[in-house]
Symmetry: C2
DNA sequence: CGGGCCTCCTGACAAATGTCATCGCCGGCC
DNA sequence: GGCCGGCGATGACATTTGTCAGGAGGCCCG
C-alpha cells in the first residue's frame, strides 16, 4: 500500500522541521512538501497534490482556514486538517464550515498527530474534545452581521469617527451597534467587547 | 566528554516532543527534563539541574523571562535561552536583563538550535540578528515606570475606575498617566497606546 | 397582510475619558 | 542651593463614548 502523502504548513521552521522528522519515522506517512506561509502552502499543494494537508491556523499571508477553503475548491481529493496553538471556538466552527476534517491543538503528541493523519486520510473526522466543548458552550454568535463588522473595525482601538468612516456609516449608528454588541456580550465597553468576541472567535 | 544536559520547556506538547526527539539525535546533547508550564520548568530545573534551559517565552503560569530570572538566582550554573514565536523588541531587552544567554525565534531550524545550545553551554551568547535590529530601531521605552504599569492594567479594556483601584491610585492620576503615555506613543487614546506599547514590547 | 427582525438614521442625555494647569513632595545632579 | 524630573493628587473643561427612545425602510415568514 502506498504511503499517505502529506503537506506540512507552519511558519515556524523549528516545528515544521521537527514534525517532518517525526512523521518520517512512520513508514506509512510521507511528507512530500513543506510551506511556511499561506500562499506557499497553496502553491505546494498545487504542485505536489498531497493526500492530506496539515495546516497551521496562523500563518503569514493567508490563515489555515482560508487555505483550506481554496484547497477544497481546487483539490477536492486533498483532505485538510488544522493544527493550532490557540484554539478559539469560532475558529473551529469556521474551519468545519470550510470542510476541514480535523482540528487539534498543538498540545497533542506527534504520535497522536500521526494517528489523526491516518484517520483523516481514511475519510474520518476528528475534533479535539476540549475545543468541541468550548465551541458548544460558547454557542453561536449572538451578533448580527453589522455588529460583528463594526466590532472588528473597532479592534485596534480606533475612535468612533474613524470606524464610521471606514464602515461608511453615521457615527450614531456605529455607537448604537457597538452598544448593542457590548450589551449582548456582557461587556462594559467596546474594547472589552472586542476582546470577548475575539476569545470566542466571533470576529 | 559528558553530554550537555538540557531542560526543555514549552507548553505545546507537539513541539516539545518533536524537539526532544530531534535533539536526541545529537549525541552530545541530552534532554534530561521537559516541562509544559513556568512553575513546572522551575521544579524540573531544581530536580535535574540541567546545564542549559531552553524556555518558550509564552507559557502558562510564568513566562520564560521570569523563569530565567528565578533560575539565575537559584541555579547560577544553569545557562538559559529563550525560543519564541512572537519576538518583540522589548522582550529581548527584558530577557537579556534577566541574564538570558540566547534569544532566537522559532523560525530557526533544529540544527541551528542544537548549535545554539552548544554555543550557550560553552559560555557564548547569541541574539537573532533580525530581532536585534528591531530592538535597536525600536529604541528604549519612553515610558516611566508608572506609565507602563498603568498602561498594562489598561490592557484588557478595563475602565479607569478599575485601573485606579487595582493600582491604588486616584482616577485623576490614572488619567494623567494614560494621557501622557498616549502622547509619548503618538496614540489618540489609551487603547491604541496599549496596542503600540505591546507591539514594541514595552509592556 | 401583519409581525418581527435587521439596517440605518436622528436627537438627546449621562457618563467616561482626554487634556490642561497647578500644586506638594521627594530624589538626583550640577 | 537651585534645577529638573518623576510621582501623586486636585479641579476644571472639552470631547468622546455609552445609552435610550424613536422613526423609516426593507425583508422574510406564517
Amino acid at each position: 500500500m502506498s504511503p499517505v502523502r502529506v503537506l506540512l504548513a507552519d511558519d515556524e521552521h523549528l516545528i515544521r522541521g521537527a514534525l517532518a522528522a517525526l512523521l518520517a519515522l512512520e513508514d506509512d506517512l510521507l511528507v512530500v512538501a513543506e510551506a511556511a506561509s499561506g500562499p506557499e502552502a497553496l502553491a505546494m499543494a498545487r504542485a505536489h497534490r498531497p493526500d492530506v494537508a496539515v495546516l497551521d491556523l496562523q500563518m503569514p499571508g493567508a490563515d489555515g482556514v482560508s487555505v483550506a477553503t481554496t484547497l477544497r475548491a481546487e483539490l477536492p481529493d486533498c483532505k485538510t486538517m488544522i493544527v493550532t496553538s490557540h484554539g478559539r471556538p469560532g475558529h473551529l466552527k469556521r474551519a468545519l464550515a470550510a470542510g476541514v476534517r480535523a482540528f487539534a491543538p498543538k498540545t497533542v503528541s506527534a504520535q497522536r498527530l500521526a494517528e489523526l493523519i491516518r484517520t483523516v486520510h481514511a475519510g474520518g473526522r476528528y475534533v479535539d474534545p476540549e475545543l468541541a466543548a468550548d465551541a458548544i458552550s460558547a454557542g453561536d454568535s449572538p451578533l448580527t452581521a453589522r455588529e460583528a463588522e463594526v466590532l472588528e473595525l473597532a479592534g485596534d482601538g480606533a475612535p468612533i469617527a474613524e470606524i464610521a468612516e471606514r464602515a461608511s456609516l453615521s457615527q450614531g449608528t456605529v455607537r448604537n451597534y457597538l452598544s448593542s454588541a457590548a450589551t449582548k456580550l456582557g461587556a462594559e465597553n467596546r474594547h472589552t467587547a472586542v476582546r470577548l468576541a475575539r476569545e470566542r472567535g466571533w470576529v
